[in-house]
Subunit: 259 residues, 2 copies
Amino acid sequence: MKEKLKIIKIGGNVINDSEALTSFLIDFSKVNGLKILVHGGGKRATEIANDLGLQPKMVEGRRITDEANLEIVTMIYAGLLNKNIIGQLQKYRCNAIGLSGADANCIQAHKRIVIDVDYGFAGDVDAINNTAINVFLENDMIPVFCAITHDKKGQLLNTNADTIASEIAKGMSRDYEVELIYCFEKNGVLQNVNDETSVIEIINANLYKELKNNKVIAEGMLPKMENCFEALRKGVEKVIIGNPRVISDKNQKYTTLQL
Amino acid sequence: MKEKLKIIKIGGNVINDSEALTSFLIDFSKVNGLKILVHGGGKRATEIANDLGLQPKMVEGRRITDEANLEIVTMIYAGLLNKNIIGQLQKYRCNAIGLSGADANCIQAHKRIVIDVDYGFAGDVDAINNTAINVFLENDMIPVFCAITHDKKGQLLNTNADTIASEIAKGMSRDYEVELIYCFEKNGVLQNVNDETSVIEIINANLYKELKNNKVIAEGMLPKMENCFEALRKGVEKVIIGNPRVISDKNQKYTTLQL
């Protein structure tokens, strides 16, 4: 039987609030068993870009990573955020190691192919390096990934953190029974977006179709849900969407996805 | 017999010049045997601090790391510089892994004690984590350290890169026959500072005293030399000072230090 591995993803809602982040990191440090953390960016990158006089470049509502913005996200994600998270986890006796996809070639990607829009230095993931990640896990180091990958040709790439989490989950399910936990600002997928108690506890592929048709699931949730189902189809054992307390509080409701 | 390990330190003169850096990284990727790279900061941190309207804080000619400056050096050293170095080394088939002292608790330090001057978030090294660094070396990962450490109480600390290199060298000489190579802007310690051919090939403790008295070695070179002799006294096998070509070019002159 494969050993269990939890892959937990946090985003801007936790990163932007230092109290929420500390509280989450204390909870994360207490999670039993093998675990990996993936973190997104948050508003600090936008603030620093603004302070440096850089405007976020948008095309048709999508963010473009030009060279100046790649520099900023590399500084903020891999430097400021990642190392502060590591520093805090070390304080809570969690032997964390901060990683970008370039480190030990953990996540190889390619620059997104231009079809209609040139997203600039945005990365689409090609391969997860199980061997390297296993070295960390087997030596009691807890990998903490920021959302930067590389193309193994010297180019760093800005990569969606949700995608990184699901790619690591898929890649590692070769060796482990993987549980993928997406933490976000809501208690799960909600029947009524304004009612945090209306968590839909289980969503299978059929219900997902129905919820899409009824527009209960829409916009930003759609790519997140696609990532989740893709992970389940590629061997991930369990996928959960919930708020950050889900990793510590047994009474916290959440959404479980099923095929 | 202990296995050999080379610890190579580069500073601003290489970091600030992208062609020099690429050329050095190609050479570094070809260095045979076990190796560790330590890199300093360079002017990009000062530029970004200036762009953000931060003035470097100086007291009696010494740089002070206040909270805003710690944020900047964490971004630049651990993020921008470290990850770009890793990306490039991966291109040259060197399986590098970028680390701060907080990652896997590799380098534990404490905030410098205030005697006359409060240096702010400056770190003095307490301990090198041989176990963690050995995990990387034994699994064909090449550690690349930036000059950020932590106190294991959640605080990141700005730490002198020369000191980090000598502390790692001392710590690792428990397990390896360590050669410490300081690369800087000159060909070695020069008899005449304006003549690059006047490299003093061997300096022992007696000659060092003489060179200090004659002011051949002065100012910025003094703490570097103290670091070197301290490393030799604490078990490092060999210490070299030279220009970056010393790692690839057999004909390049350099200074060897001896007790």
